[in-house]
């Protein structure tokens, strides 16, 4: 081989090298293709006993409770499927989640069941590595009708192409500090963003107490908020074909500006928030430093109940009318959160699909669903569970239940992942400017959004 490269390059020698390269290029993909398994649709009969493998999200807030819940599921599964069991591996970050998805899809080998967050389901669908549920499969686990209807909107691109079974919900609502409201003389929870800004100003002293907080350095918070404001304004972050990015549209620019103005213009959030991540905002609320937190999930409840604000906080639905308006503009939607939660999917190349389906049936059992609430403070997704356990619709869980029913689905596009990153980049950049100098220019914001929209467009093809 060394002679081929070190010797004098002759026509014969060139043909030898080129021939080897061509042979490899032709043979390797063919070989790899031949190695691939041919998938088959799962039946819903009585499968042979086996040990399933699961890849699930780690509950970093309640790791012991998660282990306890999985043990309960395992016991019930073994009872219904004698001789069978499962093992599970966990991921603690979105990066691990996507890496496993990629490697398993490329190798056509991986766990029998994958858990995904709602916004990654479209990407998982695009890989073609997950089983599309037939009506028989849905009926086997209890039917589509057992779930909170909005949750199924993120299970697939259309009702006949669903790949993901909802297992827990993560509705978004607003949480406020009742004591701070009272001290500031605020008697009514804001329903418009103008009222929100006024209330936040009333609670802000500019040093150690602020009306609200924001987390622009978080991997998710920027797109959560920008999606919310853009949707209320009647805009979209990506067009209805999924082929054109709209991050630099007037609605998107206005949405970004409104959020950034919390720090820069209205001064209702501290400049230090420029480096905040989501956990920092939860901590700020738990320590009584802020009066309101927008798009807060039920995950904060455990933190707040063990903090100085225990008993002083209340969840409500968030504002839905854009700033400076008294009603929604044309095309605007009264969104205050998107459909969010965790989903289980069946890996297409699993050899134990029937058994995996039996496990899904256990996971959506109303009693097991209740344990998601009791042990992990997560919202169940099965209607029977809500009917049987009234505490799921009481106290702070009442607005969260309403929020789940009123949630809007995000567009089911596999390009949503890149979009999240690009929104984060633009917001991060301008928030840094505000953190350092206290202000930003609209031209810088527009330029940043144009740049990230170009990058998004390149990935859309």
């Amino acid at each position: 081989m060394a002679d081929l490269f070190h010797g004098k390059l002759t026509r014969r020698r060139f043909l030898e090298v080129a021939g080897m390269g061509t042979a490899a290029a032709v043979a390797v993909p063919g070989f790899l293709e031949a190695c691939a398994q041919s998938p088959s649709a799962p039946a819903t009969g009585s499968p042979k006993p086996a040990t399933l493998s699961l890849y699930i999200a780690k509950d970093t807030a309640h790791p012991q409770a998660q282990a306890q819940l999985m043990d309960m599921i395992k016991a019930q599964f073994a009872k219904e499927n004698p001789g069978s069991s499962f093992t599970y591996d966990t991921y603690a970050s979105a990066a691990e989640e996507t890496t496993k998805l990629e490697t398993s899809s490329a190798a056509q080998e991986g766990p029998d069941i994958f858990e995904f967050g709602s916004t990654l389901v479209p990407t998982a669908y695009a890989t073609g590595s997950f089983e599309v549920f037939t009506n028989d499969m849905w009926n086997h686990i209890g039917g589509k009708g057992i779930f909170l209807p909005p949750q199924l909107t993120m299970s697939g691109p259309s009702p006949d192409k669903l790949i993901a079974v909802p297992v827990s919900g993560n509705p978004w609502a607003m949480v406020h500090n009742k004591a701070m409201f009272q001290a500031a003389g605020i008697s009514k929870v804001p329903t418009t963003w103008s009222d929100f800004v006024d209330a936040a100003k009333a609670m802000t002293n500019g040093t150690d107490q602020w009306g609200t907080a924001m987390a622009p350095a978080d991997g998710f918070d920027p797109w959560h908020k920008i999606w919310l404001f853009t949707t209320q304004l009647g805009g979209q972050l990506i067009d209805s074909t999924g082929k054109k990015g709209l991050l630099d549209s007037p609605e998107s620019v206005e949405a970004c500006a409104f959020w950034l103005d919390w720090m820069a213009k209205y001064k209702i959030a501290a400049r230090q928030d420029a480096a905040f991540k989501g956990a920092d905002e939860v901590r700020a609320f738990a320590t009584g430093k802020i009066g309101m937190s927008v798009m807060a999930g039920p995950g904060g409840i455990v933190s707040y109940d063990n903090s100085p604000v225990a008993g002083q906080y209340e969840y409500t639905l968030g504002p839905t009318v854009p700033y400076g308006m008294t009603s929604l503009p044309a095309g605007g939607k009264p969104a205050q959160g998107f459909v969010s939660g965790q989903y289980y999917t069946l890996f297409r190349y699993s050899k134990n699909q029937e058994l995996a389906l039996n496990l899904l049936k256990v996971v959506v059992n109303p009693e097991i669903q209740y344990q998601y609430f009791k042990l992990r403070a997560q919202q169940p997704v099965v209607l029977d569970t809500f009917n049987k356990y009234p505490e799921l619709k009481q106290g702070n869980w009442s607005p969260l239940y309403d929020a789940a029913l009123k949630a809007y689905p995000t567009p089911f596009f596999s390009s949503w992942g890149p979009l999240e990153v690009e929104v984060g980049k633009a917001i991060n950049k301008i928030a840094s400017q505000i953190g350092i100098s206290g202000s930003y220019s609209m031209s810088d914001l527009k330029s940043a959004l144009t740049q990230v929209n170009q990058e998004l467009q390149a990935s859309l093809g």
Binding site: M1, A2, A24, A25, P29, G30, L32, E33, A94, A95, T98, T99, E102, S105, A106, Q108, T123, A126, T127, G128, S129, A217, G219, R271, Q272, A274, A275, K277, S414, G417, P418, V421, G424, K425, N428, K429, A431, S432, Q433, G435, I436, Q451, Q454, E455, Q457, A458, S459, G461
Partner: protein, 321 residues
């Protein structure tokens, strides 16, 4: 000695240098067969994956095609054009990352060099507790990068981090100085990496110092040379080849450092620390644009070959004839 030269000598030694040309040719192949035990694994481990990366960089491999990646659409040089053409949509991000990586790797190497060499000089002499100190010096190097990243993230947290507390206490800066966002993030990354990596230069320098015979120094002292002159005219020239290798490897390591910036800044870092490995990772594993990620990796490889080739040419490694 070149491989061809070696082959001829083997042939001569074997008495095969006669007029029969075919025997002569087969004898020339002997050294290549002898190389095969290392060449075959090297090909499988290094060259085949590189060839795959090159192939993937020419495809539009993404979330839509990864399930059947052998049939990913061929897009030719699109990714290279998108990234390298100054008017391309990805050029600002790509060139920004190259700049961030070069500045970060060169600056970090420049800072680690005097620290490492200084520590090596200190611990090469007679010193009480020298063995213990030599072990302690390695501590930053053996701490896992992820732990190091979390540690320095805490140090540089706005208001609550030790960096801001110290600056405020010494009246050198505000308690609200931002280190994890904006332009100062580059300095935060450099400080964290210098702390973790200077022992590498220290180890290389110490190893080189220990090869210098004591009588060379004795002779210099007898001739009246001062310590600075001894360092400049004897120590430095004698450790220079090893240090050169250390600098080249160090620069490459810093350039390829992914874990530290990822842990400190996450997948949407400030522009100043959006180094190439992080950009490649985000494109490949967060946004699923694997073809683009592979193209960026190929360009990174070419960039990284530059210091390696410069060093190899300067040291004339592999040129022993």
């Amino acid at each position: 000695m070149t491989i061809k030269g070696a082959a001829l000598r083997v042939a001569v030694a074997a008495g095969l240098s006669g007029p029969r040309r075919s025997s002569h040719r087969s004898s020339i192949r002997v050294p290549y067969w002898l190389l095969s035990p290392s060449l075959i694994p090297l090909t499988l481990i290094v060259f085949v994956p590189m060839a795959f990366a090159l192939y993937i960089s020419l495809t539009g491999l993404n979330q839509n095609s990864i399930g059947d990646w052998t049939h990913a659409p061929f897009v030719g040089l699109k990714h290279y054009v998108d990234g390298l053409d100054p008017r391309g949509p990805l050029a600002p991000s790509f060139y920004g990352s190259i700049k961030a990586s070069v500045v970060f790797s060169v600056a970090t190497t420049l800072f680690t060099l005097p620290i490492g060499v200084g520590a090596a000089l200190l611990l090469n002499g007679q010193l009480r507790g020298r063995t213990f100190l030599r072990a302690v010096m390695l501590l930053p190097y053996i701490i896992p990068t992820f732990v190091n990243g979390i540690l320095w993230r805490l140090v540089f947290m706005t208001s609550t981090g030790i960096a801001d507390q110290i600056l405020a206490a010494l009246h050198l800066g505000s308690r609200d100085t931002f280190w994890l966002i904006g332009p100062r993030s580059l300095w935060a990354l450099i400080v964290a990496d210098v702390w973790a990596s200077w022992p590498f230069i220290y180890l290389m320098a110490l190893a080189a110092l220990q090869t210098i015979p004591a009588d060379v120094y004795d002779a210099a002292r007898i001739d009246g040379a001062t310590p600075p002159r001894i360092f400049r005219r004897i120590t430095l020239p004698l450790i220079a080849p090893t240090l050169g290798l250390g600098i080249a490897l160090s620069t490459i390591n810093h350039f390829n450092n992914f874990a530290l910036p990822y842990v400190m800044f996450g997948p949407t870092p400030p522009d100043e620390v959006n180094v190439l490995p992080l950009n490649i990772y985000v494109n490949s594993f967060i946004t699923f644009n694997l073809g683009l990620g592979a193209a960026m990796s190929v360009v990174a490889l070419v960039i990284m070959l530059t210091p390696a080739v410069i060093y190899l040419r300067a040291a004339r490694i592999g040129d022993t004839d």
